[in-house]
């Protein structure tokens, strides 16, 4: 029994994941409606003039993950206005004596800046950088048995340790500080286990694709994704904050670019209580494991 739907799929939320999902579905031949609650596209990629003439990124600003994304890299985003700017130094950590430790796009230049930790830095990062194309698929993928088991294990062994443990490999304050700064992006106390993974991914991406910023603000990424989606025939409706499932046009698939809390508020009547319980347990506070 085949029902007739206006759209094959509806995506709720136009953050990077909502846009990616909408594009992948539309370019696979489905008809897609993208709904966004705000009047501005992009979720965490929005930019805004808080003061007239001064453009700021509201959320995300620096884009090693976008530039290194296996999916975004497949899309013709430069044709839709996206231009990355690559500053010569990716990140720097200052010290009170006026010196600093810096991450550069070159693995060797970065290592050379770390004095006696040069060798240790190369030992740690070189295998990750060299294996990255294989690793990225597993690390940035959904949960599954890693295809490249060996390479993943090598990454896993370093990455599953805490940033504190890993930074003890290093002897200089420069190397320790640089690594701690990267790992702090995981928003956890630095002695927790997976923090090192975040640091390693960010540094590896820096050595491979840099830490670029989009010309015209992070909004430029959102605008390019949207223009590409529309060029494929995708439809967008902005300024529509979905509150209940009944508002959403019937479709074969409805995909939420929201957290589990909102998913439950909107679609709770359709979800079994065991799922709701588990999903709402996604911890929002650091806990010990």
């Amino acid at each position: 029994m085949q029902k007739n739907y206006e759209y094959d799929a509806v995506v709720v939320g136009s953050g990077p994941n909502g846009l990616a999902c909408a594009i992948q579905l539309q370019r696979s031949g489905l008809s897609v409606l993208l709904i966004e609650g705000s009047e501005q596209i992009g979720g965490g990629m929005r930019s805004k003039e808080f003061f007239p003439g001064y453009l700021s990124d509201v959320c995300s600003a620096i884009h090693p993950m976008a530039a290194g994304s296996p999916f975004f890299s497949q899309l013709p985003l430069t044709d839709y206005g996206l231009e990355y700017i690559n500053p010569p130094v990716l990140a720097a950590h200052p010290f009170d004596n006026g010196t600093s430790a810096s991450l550069k796009s070159s693995l060797y230049e970065t290592a050379n800046g770390l004095g006696i930790d040069k060798g240790d830095y190369l030992d740690l990062m070189q295998p990750i950088v060299e294996n990255w194309p294989k690793l990225a698929e597993d690390i940035l993928g959904p949960f599954k048995i890693p295809k490249e088991l060996i390479a993943s294990l090598q990454f896993g062994l370093s990455a599953m340790k805490s940033a504190k443990w890993l930074s003890n490999r290093f002897k200089t304050e420069e190397a320790k500080a640089l690594f701690a700064g990267m790992a702090a992006h995981s928003f956890l106390p630095l002695d927790q286990l997976s923090t090192a993974a975040v640091g390693l991914v960010l540094m590896a991406n820096g050595h491979l694709k840099g830490w670029p910023l989009p010309k015209g603000g992070s909004q430029a990424i959102a605008n390019a994704l949207l223009s590409y989606f529309e060029s494929l025939g995708g439809k967008v409706q902005m300024g529509w904050m979905v509150r209940s499932y009944g508002e959403i046009p019937p479709a074969k698939a409805v995909i939420f670019d929201t957290g589990p809390k909102q998913l439950i508020e909107i679609a709770g009547d359709h979800l079994p209580s065991i799922y709701k319980k588990k999903a709402s347990e996604v911890s929002l506070r650091p806990r010990r494991i």
């Binding site: 939320g13 953050g15 965490g44 808080f50 975004f72 959904p142 927790q192 409805v254 359709h270």
Partner: protein, 134 residues
């Protein structure tokens, strides 16, 4: 964490001016005003910085949640990224993008591989949809 994008992208500001962008971490839901602490830390490494400020715009965790309901308590990564969750959000299942309800999926940063602008959660969720409806 600080970034000064206008140093490399002059079109973002009037000639001769700059915008400085930065954030610091606070406990989930905290609305303590960190402005002074942040500015002092910048002043520590760039003396004279405070005298150059024309204006400032501050967003706390509650305002972030109001701005984007995905940022619960100001959490910008859609749930804590610890080991138990890194590969199991929102629940441990072979496809975390599917829900038990036919035709309902989740693709946000609350699913693997988590926070950041990379679109990979959305890409994998789309592939789960394609498998189910083709």
């Amino acid at each position: 964490m600080l970034a000064q994008q206008s140093l490399f992208d002059a079109d973002r500001v009037p000639k001769g001016k700059q915008v400085l962008w930065g954030y610091c971490h606070v406990p989930n839901g905290s609305t303590v005003d960190m402005t002074n602490a942040v500015e002092q830390q910048i002043e520590r490494f760039a003396p004279g910085f405070r005298d150059t400020i024309i204006d400032r715009h501050i967003i706390n965790t509650a305002q972030f949640e109001a701005y984007n309901p995905n940022y619960i308590g100001g959490d910008i990564n859609g749930g804590v990224l610890d080991l138990a969750q890194l590969y199991s959000r929102p629940i441990l299942s072979v496809s975390p993008y599917r829900t038990p309800a036919n035709g309902i999926y989740i693709c946000s940063a609350s699913t693997p591989p988590g926070g950041g602008v990379h679109g990979m959660c959305g890409f994998h969720a789309a592939n789960a949809v394609l498998k189910d409806i083709k």
